[in-house]
Assembly symmetry: C2
């Protein structure tokens, strides 16, 4: 039996790589649904190739050629009985309600949209434990942790999230203030979407991953460390109570964690995924992160520790601030200032419902917009 997959965010970087994996294993996987936002051209081509039963397009039906599919909202696709795995790869807040719909329906969700867990981790994990929905990580770091935990009976004593350090590793605060969007969009190891590439440069992405790891692996924040590892070969590590550490490694290629989430608990041979050639590896190095120069990492971990609606504000403020940086309205180091301001202003709710999260999201964005307006007056 083929696994029937719905790809939410099929025209984004993760979505396209997911379809690439599916292409490699036509006997294992079939695409039953595709959902995308703006890129109607690419979505049309994907529909022609994969002939999904269901389609969602933010830009509306009229832009798409009808080749027999049915248009459905993402929320309906995510919980549809014909879907075995929901690959959630919409960026930012866009996929949140679809993920909630999948979790409520007890689906298996391959989760690339980290904002869902960061913003609504408490709600999602509570519902998932009732519906027995399974959330499988697609992020390379969380996939690494998940692979390392495979077969272990006990909780890890420590999770070590590795980080490349991004394109501005070892930059000073002064240098960071002069960074352009073009520079920030060049990641040393990974090809990714714009938002996550900027988040990688500020280390906000690593902070969001700490919160994601907290929810995915039920790990206290004190047991999650971040370690800079510029070569991006070790994708994360887990330490156990006896001091033994397991690490997962590979050449940096998102198709591996995507494929693992789809093929789990099996692994599939994929010649397209390059093997590590050890004679080409000069050395693996490790450094402690610089929380002062990269305050987003600290802000994110603090927001995660405080919990409640703080992480939702963190995400929203960051999304807003990154957009402003990309459109040239603020400097690179102002991203952290914006997020910090939004968090300071936030009046948090301890155990929020979805509506509280949505309101906090809106307030977080507003804080950033106001702050930028004020600062530029």
């Amino acid at each position: 039996m083929k696994k029937r997959i719905a790809v939410l965010g099929s025209t984004g970087s993760i979505g396209q790589q997911t379809l690439d994996v599916v292409r490699s294993f036509p006997d294992e996987f079939s695409i039953v649904a595709l959902a995308a936002g703006q890129n109607t051209d690419l979505l049309s081509r994907q529909i022609a190739e994969f002939k999904p039963a269901f389609v969602y397009c933010q830009n509306g039906k009229d832009l798409l050629p009808d080749t027999g599919y049915k248009l459905l909202p993402m929320e309906e696709i995510a919980c549809h009985s014909q879907v075995d795995i929901v690959l959630a790869a919409t960026s930012g807040k866009a996929g949140l309600s679809a993920v909630m719909s999948a979790v409520t329906a007890g689906k298996t969700i391959a989760l690339a949209n980290k904002e869902s867990l960061v913003m609504t981790g408490e709600i999602i994990t509570r519902v998932a434990s009732k519906t027995r929905a399974r959330i499988l990580p697609v992020d390379s770091e969380h996939s690494a942790i998940w692979q390392c935990l495979n077969g272990e009976r006990q909780e890890p004593s420590r999770i070590i999230l590795t980080a490349s350090g991004g394109p501005f590793h070892n930059f000073s605060a002064g240098q960071l203030s002069r960074v352009t969007p073009e520079q920030a969009l060049k990641h040393p190891s990974w090809q990714m979407g714009k938002k996550i590439t900027i988040d990688s440069a500020t280390l906000m992405n690593k902070g969001l991953e700490v919160i994601e790891a907290h929810w995915l692996f039920e790990a206290p924040f004190d047991n999650i460390n971040v370690l800079i590892h510029p070569q991006s070969i070790i994708h994360s590590m887990v330490e156990f109570v006896d001091g033994s550490i397991k690490a997962q490694m590979s050449c940096p290629d998102m198709r591996l964690p995507i494929q693992y989430a789809l093929s789990y608990p099996n692994r599939l041979p994929n010649p397209q995924l390059h093997r590590i050639e050890w004679n080409r590896i000069d050395k693996l190095t490790f450094e402690q992160p610089d929380f002062d120069t990269f305050p987003c990492l600290k802000l994110a971990i603090e927001a995660g520790r405080k919990g409640g609606t703080y992480p939702a504000v963190l995400c929203a403020a960051d999304e807003e601030a990154v957009e402003m940086f990309l459109s040239g309205r603020i400097k690179f180091n102002n991203i952290a200032d914006c997020v910090e301001r939004a968090l300071e202003q936030h009046q948090a709710i301890a155990h929020p419902g979805m509506e509280d999260v949505m309101e906090s999201d809106e307030r977080g964005r507003q804080s950033v917009r106001e702050f930028v307006r004020e600062s530029q007056c």
Copy 2:
């Protein structure tokens, strides 16, 4: 219920460290039997401390104070109904028949004596598959592989055995010929017995480990690679069909793999085992092994591939040659010459029984003795 452990080779390096682990977990483990060779003083103290029900002493009963234990041959201890785990840590050929006895009785064997598997791997694994005896590795490398395979459903596509390279890493053949026993007994990362320390210096130990891995994990020789990793932090790695690699790491301390074999499938918190401090790790590096300068590695892998009685001759010739090197009769680089000569002279038996193995062992030693005599004439 405490696990009841028989320690064969209790006065050796692995034996002493096993007792150290047992000391740390009096509620988990009890010592029901101790077996040792020459070191009667230490064995007496161990008996007084652990009060085992059974004792074996190569030097005979009269040298030991009787404090209520029963003297039994190692073979009887190894299959005794009161023993849950046999920790087999006698060095060289000495523990072979005890290991066979344990395997025949369907025991769980924590195997530190790699010669057993190297010499009689075919026999042991055949019997073990019938009696359902479990062979758990204690070698740090094989423990690493075992930990990495935990929870995986499929065979690994590649096993990467790491090697520190020993104290003479990067030595030339000329430098190696002038090496003294004192120099060879100083291993850069591990505290071990004499035989295995010399085997580490010649890389014979890594060759024996390749053969051991072949039998333990049913891996074809083509899928087992050796990788020099001088820092001895990564204890081995496993690559899967999707290109994902898992590595196990820790500070070099044999108590960790010993403890893991005893506590498996659980892990136990042991404050005596140091944690890796990542800010103290400068870098991890990797090199391909130099088969020409360290011919023992090549000889061992070839003997493993040929199979039959070749690995028994390899082990025996090496044991004899190492003794001769330690007693000053041959040079360091002659160890490989001796082993090569013994293998060349050997008329192998394809699917040997225990007697064939024992005969090959004797012939291997004889070859070395003759060769050394001839060379010095």
